[in-house]
């Protein structure tokens, strides 16, 4: 993909890449362990912890009570004592419970004591979108974590990057919130067999273009790619797609350089729009690449509503490739015109588009596990 050297290895799925990252991290460093609700159960967090459990057993892969805040504090303490805990949340929605330990403690312990200690914890935060998960099981909370100094926020979109970034997170000395979108779990791609890390804070250009930049994150990268392909085929619009890979630190240079070239920006995110991650990318560019901008900056993100479960409402609720297409069209064809709010986009039109591009990714309706 893009600037990364494309390894020629076998293809594996996103969830398998996570699994592999776990196993190899644990092989390389005996201080690494995994904890969380269900990590040792027969389903092993959508399969991602099964292999590690099989290999390293209950001592290094263990279940916890349902007590998110305390178990986070426990991970912090273990980290202070030299361990490298990986904590897993099957839904990031449950992490509201542990905001105190994450934000008042993990995030602050290093700086608050003048740099005396480090807290190397990795917190896997899964976004559960799909099959009517609804308001408390499908949130995408990266913006909250990105706002709090002292936390890194990583959000990979491909099997290749998820493995390299997870290994880097586990190896690094900072607390990392590692956000995984469940819809990516079945996506396959080339992944080197051996251990490797990717630098946290570096994004990647995944498709070159000159007319507009789409800066995207996680699952939205795939929507962006679909949109780019369609825009090229249909209207000859050349979109550059950036996979941000991490929100904190953010690869400012990559974004700014791209916008300096294209003069136009659409930001695509999986979270809510207002006060969301997309706002930061927009504000960055409005501050530091303003003079290159030829059109308003568009954001494609969730409307400011909690997620409904009904299938009809879900379809309207979630933006997709079509919303990115229409956002790009607006700024490329007639810069400066008011954008239509996402949720006003018509369901019918959307469905047609989704059928059209469904071959571009292995996406299919999620039917469980839940």
């Amino acid at each position: 993909m893009g600037k990364d050297k494309k390894p020629k290895e076998r293809e594996i799925k996103y969830w398998q890449a996570i699994s592999e990252a776990h196993v190899q991290s644990m092989e390389r460093n005996e201080r690494v362990f995994i904890m969380g609700i269900g990590v040792d159960d027969p389903k092993g967090i959508f399969g991602t912890t099964l292999e590690a459990y099989k290999k390293f057993g209950k001592k290094r892969v263990f279940d916890t009570p349902v007590a998110e805040n305390t178990m986070t504090g426990c991970a912090i303490g273990a980290a202070l004592a030299g361990m490298r805990p990986v904590m897993v949340h099957a839904r990031n929605d449950f992490m509201y419970y542990c905001m105190d330990q994450l934000c008042n403690h993990a995030a602050k312990w290093h700086h608050m004591f003048g740099g005396l200690m480090t807290v190397p914890i990795t917190v896997r935060a899964i976004v559960g979108r799909g099959w009517g998960q609804g308001s408390q099981h499908s949130q995408s909370l990266q913006a909250l974590f990105s706002h709090v100094p002292g936390l890194k926020v990583v959000m990979p979109s491909t099997p290749y990057s998820v493995k390299g970034l997870l290994m880097a997170s586990i190896e690094g000395d900072s607390p990392v919130i590692f956000v995984e979108h469940r819809r990516l779990y079945d996506y396959a791609g080339p992944v080197p067999e051996g251990p490797y890390t990717l630098p946290i804070g570096k994004g990647a250009v995944v498709r070159m273009g000159k007319d507009a930049t789409v800066a995207a994150i996680s699952y939205a990268v795939w929507d962006a790619i679909k949109a780019a392909v369609a825009l090229k085929e249909e209207g000859g619009i050349d979109v550059e797609v950036i996979d941000l890979r991490s929100l904190k630190p953010l690869d400012e240079e990559l974004i700014l350089n791209s916008v300096k070239k294209t003069g136009r920006l659409v930001v695509a995110d999986t979270g809510w729009k207002s006060y969301g991650a997309s706002a930061e990318i927009s504000a960055l560019v409005a501050e530091k690449a303003f003079e290159y901008l030829k059109a308003p900056i568009q954001r494609v993100a969730l409307p400011d509503i909690s997620a409904p479960t009904s299938v009809t409402l879900e379809k309207v609720f979630y933006p997709g490739a079509m919303d990115i297409i229409s956002a790009v069209r607006q700024i490329v064809q007639k810069g400066g015109e008011k954008s239509v709010p996402l949720f006003e986009s018509s369901l019918t039109a959307k469905t047609v588009y989704e059928r059209e591009f469904s071959s571009l990714a292995q996406e299919k309706e999620f039917l469980g596990p839940f």
Binding site: I37, G38, D41, P42, K43, D63, T64, P65, V66, A67, N69, T70, D93, F94, Y97, W131, G132, Q133, G134, S135, Q136, H137, P303, D304, I305, P308, T309, S310, V311, T312, L313, V316, F317, F343, L347, L367, G368, F370
Partner: protein, 329 residues
């Protein structure tokens, strides 16, 4: 349990019969939903209470319509037992506009405030403090309403459970904590999460009395709840009831799951042999409260109601797009 139960005397016959009707209805709902679910028209995660129905029925039979009830992800039984409409439940599962939450909430977020079923949260332990808040309001308003929250054995692991016991005890609030201890949280055995299986004792150091009852024995639950409700109405403060019971189906979804390996078929069968519906039916039959004929009449009626509800749900319209924005501020 199969002997004549002295407690039967103290319970009016119509209450006994109503409870039977309700437990049969809840069982039917669970089984029919399990049958229909593989059609993939109910597009939300569904947690069935099959095997645990007695708890909802025994507790709610002691409540008035204006008492408050809250629940968790596994909430169908509690919604129905408190008087929520069956067809609006089923419509909600199908994501329809006529659902009890307009198709927005889904299986884990049923509500029927018109009968005091104030909602369910899919966040473990989420409604424990909220239920206490309604109890605080009752006291402030000088009413003798009682609040009940139903939750699973994992919910006691969340700190909010203890925080709530502390405050409820401090202020003597009329709230009853009903734990359905089905031994598992998802695939995790209780003893993998808690040092010992003694949930009913967890209130002691907060001065919240607790009892442990057979969660498959409707009458035992009814009696325990009655005592707790009476205490609450008299202003004597909160109470904790642990009901030992068992979930027959998988944690989420319609199937059996002993093949997964986290629990055995033997364990399941042991519990199925102690089916809460059969146990109760037998007591009523033996004591002449119900006849065989009543049983089949009720079965038939409940079956028809269920089919009617499914029809209603399937035929109801989906919410339209504007709905999504309707309740936003």
């Amino acid at each position: 349990m199969k002997k004549k139960d002295p407690s039967l005397k103290s319970i009016p016959a119509n209450v006994l019969r109503d409870m039977y009707y309700m437990i049969v209805k809840i069982r039917k709902e669970g089984e029919r939903i399990a049958e229909l679910y593989p059609e993939q028209e109910m597009r939300c995660p569904i947690h069935l209470s099959i095997g645990q129905e007695a708890v909802a029925v025994g507790v709610c039979a002691n409540l008035r319509k204006d008492d408050y009830v809250f629940s968790s992800h596994r909430c169908h039984a509690h919604y129905l037992a408190k008087g929520g409409e069956l067809r609006r439940l089923v419509a909600e599962l199908y994501g329809k506009k006529t659902g009890c939450a307009g198709g927005v909430g889904g299986s884990m977020h049923l509500a029927a405030p018109e009968v005091g079923f104030m909602g369910a949260s899919s966040i473990v332990a989420g409604t424990i403090p909220i239920a206490m808040g309604t109890a605080l309001a009752s006291v402030m308003q000088g009413s003798d309403r009682v609040s009940v929250t139903f939750f699973g054995d994992a919910a006691v692991e969340e700190g909010t459970f203890h925080e709530t016991l502390n405050f409820a005890s401090l202020k003597s609030l009329p709230v009853i904590f009903v734990c359905e201890n089905n031994l598992y949280a998802t695939h995790s055995h209780l003893l993998a999460r808690q040092p010992t299986n003694n949930i009913f004792e967890r209130g002691e150091s907060h001065r919240v009395p607790g009892v442990c009852v057979d969660g498959n024995d409707l009458l035992a639950i009814y009696q325990a709840a009655k005592e707790a409700v009476d205490r609450c109405r008299r202003g004597q403060g909160p109470f904790l009831i642990e009901c030992k019971t068992y979930r027959w189906r998988e944690h989420v979804g319609p199937y059996y799951d002993y093949d997964l390996g986290y629990r055995s078929k033997e364990e399941l069968e042991k519990w199925m042999a102690r089916c809460p519906v059969s146990i109760y039916e037998k007591v009523l039959l033996e004591n002449g409260i119900l006849s065989r004929k009543d049983v089949s009449t009720i079965a038939k009626e409940v079956g028809e109601k269920m089919e009617e509800a499914v029809r209603f749900a399937k035929e109801s319209p989906f919410p339209d797009e504007a709905e999504l924005l309707k309740d936003v501020y």
